[in-house]
């Protein structure tokens, strides 16, 4: 973390040829003094490094990634707040302005249809983020349910669920999604969500299963069983609250992957189809005009990259906060 690695000037003497460049070193105050021992009064330990003890959301990593994520969510929910050139992406289009380069009035330029490209890119956020969040939410619920059952009951329940996971793992994720998407001729956001959600749960189930198996044997679960608690109560009150956080973090980390999977599938032509507006579609359309109108490719690519990066960083910040061992 950035605030922990800041160098305190003078911790390692510049003349020391063995002085490591790694800033995390033993402060010189702890080393045995080289010369005659300094008088006790002048011997002072270096003050301890400032540790950020403020609230979690004020840590830089959370702040930056959280802002990106919040902005993207807002953009997906209310694109009209950001788009200043008409209430929808096809307003004020003029085919005469096709592929016009960025200008002061149209900062992102115009697309093939002569529509304002900035508005289009803003409206494209909705598809990506909807897919990312809904797929992750479905996968989270399935993972939590199946993983808890498999981990808690073990035996044949576990065998059944684990073998189903193994089979789903056997299919490459993208290939399986392609096969499913091929079955539909017109593909909306919900079709893509269905195809991605169908194969996104096995990793989460396995993860949940292992964390439930660990919690199941804790002493407080035994104590509850000794009090006469039934399985339902033990799962709801003890197992789920103590094993759900790691899964939540894992799934947050996965949102970025789902968003890029959607864009990738759309780009190769088997994801969303034209009435929809999405970054993947815009990238696919820009392919043909890459030398004439590079702005068509650049702007959606920047938005896609920043969104994926924002969600991945947010997931990592959450992981570091809740599961310091998993670094």
């Amino acid at each position: 973390m950035s605030q922990n690695t800041e160098t305190t000037p003078g911790t390692a003497p510049a003349t020391d040829p063995l002085a490591p460049t790694n800033p995390i070193t033993v402060p010189s105050g702890i080393r045995p003094p080289a010369g005659p021992p300094a008088p006790a009064a002048s011997f002072r330990r270096k003050p301890a490094k400032k540790v950020n003890r403020g609230p979690v959301w004020l840590k830089p990593r959370f702040l930056v990634s959280g802002t990106i994520v919040a902005l993207m969510l807002l953009m997906a929910a209310f694109p009209q707040l950001f788009a200043g050139f008409g209430s929808d992406p096809t307003a004020n289009c003029d085919i005469m302005n096709t592929n016009q380069a960025p200008s002061p009035e149209h900062i992102f330029g115009m697309d093939i249809q002569g529509c304002d490209y900035y508005t289009n890119v803003i409206y494209g956020a909705r598809a990506s983020i909807l897919v990312g969040i809904v797929v992750t939410a479905i996968s989270f619920v399935i993972s939590a349910l199946l993983g808890s059952l498999a981990g808690y009951f073990g035996g044949w329940v576990d065998t059944l669920i684990s073998r189903a996971c193994d089979m789903a793992f056997g299919l490459p994720f993208i290939l399986a999604a392609i096969v499913v998407l091929q079955l539909f001729s017109e593909r909306t956001v919900w079709t893509v969500i269905f195809a991605l959600a169908l194969f996104s749960w096995p990793g989460g189930v396995r993860f949940m299963r292992s964390s439930v198996m660990e919690v199941r044997n804790r002493e407080y679960v035994q104590a509850s069983r000794l009090l006469g608690a039934g399985n339902g109560r033990i799962i709801a009150k003890h197992i789920i609250p103590n094993s759900l956080t790691p899964l939540l973090v894992l799934q947050t980390l996965g949102i970025g992957g789902v968003i890029s999977a959607e864009a990738g599938l759309t780009f190769i032509g088997i994801g969303l189809t034209p009435p929809s507006v999405s970054w993947g579609l815009q990238l696919a359309a820009a392919r043909e005009y890459i030398s004439a109108a590079p702005h068509l490719l650049i702007f959606p690519a920047i938005f896609l990259t920043i969104t994926v990066l924002g969600f991945v960083l947010f997931g990592e910040a959450m992981r570091d906060e809740f599961d310091p061992k998993g670094k």
Partner: protein, 355 residues
């Protein structure tokens, strides 16, 4: 909070339990765990954690259990609490086998047998407040405390175990080890149990708070008429709290008697070695015990030695010890020891006391 009068009242369905029957009894209990085989061939092996244990605990009594690590003490606690079903043998509570009970009878049994764990922190759900932890027993058994009076009851309970009731909205990690163990004890006694199994309740605690927790358990016993099975490594604490003491070695009870029998006229070489390892325990004539330093590690509980299980390390082993396993021999009114020479050993003490 339970008062002595409510805790001694007869509970429904138990009126016909005769007064002379021990509160809890284990008969020939064996607990074997299968060892994982790397290849699916060859004979199955078992860790014989308990190998034929007979013990009984009477109402209001404390039975201390001592023995080195791996001798089966914790398995004994888990089997007695009903967390594990023994491979063989029965565990009786008021004359009924706890592993055959179903429905209401099982619930009733659960109310009456509680366990205090060794590690206080890991026995408390870190996401529950003290109030939630202590009220869990009442949520499972709402007949004990109706919802209306529950808050007051929890307050009384926390006061009884010496915790500040104003701290009931704090989480376990806000408390010290001793306080955490008090929370565990409060949860354990919430349902007015008859039997409290303490599996090394003070081993994880600071020496300075051990005495407080042990005295708390002692006071609660007097106040609530509890019976304890008290497992500990600290021989002095066991002597302090126990009415009777059992020594275990490799899954078997090797000596059983009142605390003065076992501590002062030890009639089993393993118990003697155990006692001599505690420097603070002196013989009843005030002299230091002779030091018996055992060689080697305890044998594997997978293939225990033939004959007497202790003969491989016993300083006084004879030929007979390797071939015949001794029974528990009565050496006094209430004193039994599993050694071929138990009577001689007991006599030695009598002589010394007379001299």
């Amino acid at each position: 909070m339970p008062t002595p009068s409510t805790s001694t009242q007869t509970l429904p369905g138990t009126a016909n339990y005769p007064a002379c029957t021990p509160l809890m009894e284990m008969r020939d209990v064996k607990q074997h765990y299968a060892v994982h085989r790397h290849l699916p061939i060859g004979p199955r092996k078992f860790v014989k954690a308990l190998h034929g244990v007979d013990l009984s605990v009477h109402a209001g009594e404390t039975l201390g259990v001592i023995g080195e690590s791996g001798c089966g003490k914790s398995t004994l606690a888990r089997v007695m609490a009903g967390l594990e079903k023994p491979t063989q043998g029965q565990v009786f509570f008021r004359g009924e086998d706890i592993n055959t009970l179903r429905g209401d009878e099982k619930k009733e049994m659960r109310r009456n047998i509680q366990l205090i764990f060794q590690d206080p922190y890991s026995s408390l759900n870190p996401r529950m407040t003290v109030e939630q932890l202590v009220s869990e027993p009442y949520e499972i058994h709402p007949e004990v405390a109706p919802k209306a009076g529950r808050k007051a009851k929890i307050k009384e309970l926390l006061e009884l175990v010496g915790l500040n009731p104003n701290h009931s909205d704090r989480y376990p990690h806000n408390f010290s080890g001793g306080q955490q163990q008090r929370i565990g004890i409060a949860r354990g006694i919430a349902l007015n149990p008859k039997m409290l199994i303490c599996d090394e309740p003070v081993s994880a605690l600071d020496v300075s708070v051990r005495a407080q927790v042990v005295n708390l358990l002692d006071d609660l016993q007097k106040e609530l008429g509890l019976s304890y099975l008290f497992i500990a490594h600290d021989l002095q604490i066991v002597r302090h709290i126990s009415d009777r003491v059992a020594t275990m070695y490799l899954g078997r009870v090797v000596e059983l008697g009142t605390y003065s029998d076992v501590y002062d006229s030890t009639a089993q070489p393993y118990t003697r070695a155990l006692m001599s390892a505690a420097p603070e325990l002196r013989r009843n004539d005030g002299n230091d015990r002779e030091k018996i330093i055992l060689q080697g590690d305890p044998p594997s509980p997978i293939d225990p030695p033939a004959g007497c299980r202790f003969h491989t390390r016993c300083p006084m082993a004879q030929a007979i010890c390797a071939t015949r396993e001794p029974e528990l021999i009565a050496v006094g009114d209430s004193h039994e020891a599993r050694c071929h020479f138990a009577k001689d050993l007991a006599a030695e003490f009598v002589q010394r006391a007379g001299a």
